[in-house]
Symmetry: C2
Subunit: 205 residues, 2 copies
DNA sequence: TGTACATCAGTGAACGCGCGTTCACTGATGTAC
DNA sequence: TGTACATCAGTGAACGCGCGTTCACTGATGTAC
């Protein structure tokens, strides 16, 4: 991703891409504005033509992540039709797939310490993303007898927490803890057991 | 935690305590050897009398964390007797309680990027801690009909993932996402639903 | 089509900063006789 | 009890480093006439 002449042509994109690669590689700690600039073949000062600074660059990376994330979840949700249950499970799989495929984005979104309120754009993207999961949960909740139905936000939170936990603990090599099972299996079986507990899967299925 | 005279007296402990406070406050990124030394009222160079450097100091903090963590889990497990189910649930609660009460340790253990293999001491402490949860899961597994019993490590992983996810997403103010529910309730209900899905709680309980 | 000029997107030098680490040192403590 | 001395646990100055950010600048691009 080196520039051609004096003008880069697509520096903004190149900087975000570089930042994502660095974040993926070294974590949000290891990411450096200067290094991202160097990767794009550009002086650190050039970054300030496109971003307000280091944090702003990370925020943009996170925003793009939420955008992609929301699209993927949306797609998975629609694709999972006609059964609400299937749609919900598809969302779970999409979550993990996203974390695997876009690790830089994932880290920027959830581990970089960037506040979600930082930019209206970022906030909007994040809200949209979470909305998808909540919508899936709501629709699913309709199938639970009303008297023992937990609030939909609650189990969307449960699923999100389990997904995030699987990603952080088992889908990365991070804490030296080798996963005893493939993360995909772990998450899918976990969600399966959880949904059975909600009475959404018959005991014999 | 300022020193009295030329000799501090308990510098090693003071440094770890300072490091924990800083990690808790600013995240593992914000932690600085120099600042930890400053807090202890000591020159940065003095740190090298007790640790091999910055990383080694974090590793020691993490080690202490796993030690405390294992003790707490052990205690919760024993206290939860005589029912295996109650013991297991107690472990879940203990997990969250630990994360809440020792946030610096928690971050050092799980978010600092310190490899668990770094020191034999650290590795041993971590192994012991995870062993408790696995033991609880094994005992619980005995109550599930053998033909549909998942491997115990699997659901100890599920519970761990959900716990960790709740901590990261909802028990801290981190991603600007206000938790819709108290984390304790969220985790307890999540584990409850999960255990019901395993057939360990009767549907009408 | 050609020229003048405004705007844009870079440069590169400089800044102050705090970091982690090293080194020879020295003050305080503890121990042997 | 007193003295000599080894050991220990700090000091403080220095290092090289890369960082984020600023500034006046300049080369390239695009537009008006």
């Amino acid at each position: 991703m080196a520039k051609k002449g004096y003008h880069h042509g697509d520096l903004k994109r190149a900087l975000v891409d570089g930042a994502l690669r660095l974040i993926e590689e070294k974590g949000p700690t290891g990411f450096t504005l200067s290094e991202a600039a160097r990767e794009a073949g550009v002086t650190p000062a050039a970054v300030y033509r496109h971003f307000d600074g280091r944090e702003d660059l990370i925020a943009e990376a996170a925003r793009q992540g939420f955008e992609i994330f929301a699209d993927l979840m949306d797609y998975a949700y629609d694709k999972g039709q006609p059964s609400a249950l299937a749609a919900f499970e598809a969302c779970g799989r999409a979550y993990l797939a996203f974390a695997r495929k876009y690790p830089g984005h994932y880290v920027a979104m959830f581990e970089s310490g960037i506040g979600i309120q930082r930019t209206p754009d970022l906030h909007a993207a994040a809200t949209r993303a979470m909305g998808v999961l909540e919508r899936a949960a709501e629709e699913l909740a309709a199938h639970i007898p009303a008297d023992r139905r937990p609030p939909p936000q609650m189990f969307s939170a449960h699923i999100w927490a389990m997904s995030h936990g699987v990603v952080e603990l088992f889908a990365r090599g991070s804490p030296g803890t080798r996963s005893p099972f493939p993360p995909e299996d772990l998450l899918e079986s976990g969600i399966g057991i959880y949904l059975r507990g909600l009475g959404l899967i018959r005991p014999d299925e």
